[in-house]
């Protein structure tokens, strides 16, 4: 089975829960453990929240959107690839942004853990960002197939 879906949300924090439910439903047909499912939900939640909080500075209007595309590829193992795309301000210093506990907004109680969680919970994380054009975060998780009978 190869499958994909795409959703587009207005960049608003209350929509992040909608994305989490959609992703969880989309991958729930795979033989996936609860831990893997939670890892993916959490990583996606971080990426979408980053787009809203940092890409768009919480500036809510109809032009500010986040697009989430998810792909399931069936090979030896199931690969789940998720792209989170915004057309916000972009990340100027990727190295700084991905440093543990670094946050550009400590006064808003951001823990600076977003990229650390994405990198810990997913197998691969790619950041493609251009200043004033936007950011695409690609998250990949490989799900090992269980042997039949297990």
């Amino acid at each position: 089975m190869n499958n994909f879906f795409e959703i587009k949300i207005k960049a608003e924090n209350e929509n992040v829960a909608v994305v989490r439910v959609a992703i969880a439903t989309f991958i729930s047909n795979l033989e996936i453990t609860i831990d893997d499912l939670m890892d993916i939900k959490t990583a996606v939640s971080e990426a979408v929240t980053n787009s809203i909080e940092h890409g768009y500075y919480n500036n809510i209007n109809d032009e500010n959107t986040v697009t989430i595309r998810a792909y399931i590829e069936n090979n030896e193992e199931d690969n789940i690839k998720i792209e989170i795309e915004d057309s916000g301000v972009g990340i100027e210093d990727i190295e700084l942004a991905t440093t543990l506990a670094y946050t550009s907004k400590p006064e808003l109680e951001h823990a600076g853990m977003g990229f650390t969680i994405m990198e810990t919970f997913m197998d691969e994380v790619f950041i493609d960002s251009k200043k004033d054009e936007g950011t695409i975060i690609t998250l990949i998780k490989r799900i090992k197939k269980r042997k039949s009978g297990n």
């Binding site: 992040v16 989490r20 939670m38 506990a101």
Partner: protein, 103 residues
Amino acid sequence: MRYKYDNGNLSIKLEEELDMNSCKVLRNIMDGYIMKYQPREVEIDLSKVQFMDSSGIGLLMGRYNLTKLIDANLVITNPSNSIKRILELSNIASKITLKYNEV
């Protein structure tokens, strides 16, 4: 969210998914109760929390800093496995008391 104050102990039971959306509201409410009661111990019960991302760490860190200011203890009880993993990624796990009660 529910809360109970009893003899120096402020117990807060969170029931919502802890993401940026809910945490922005919760931190004001929780700080309101903490400042009102000035407890010796703040207990945050996570047993009903089904999901938490790094916004939840920010929420707990912020409450940790406030309880330290008023010389109170912060105790986090009953996080699920996946929430525990997230707590352990941050340095908050070394600062707060984690407790598991029989449910």
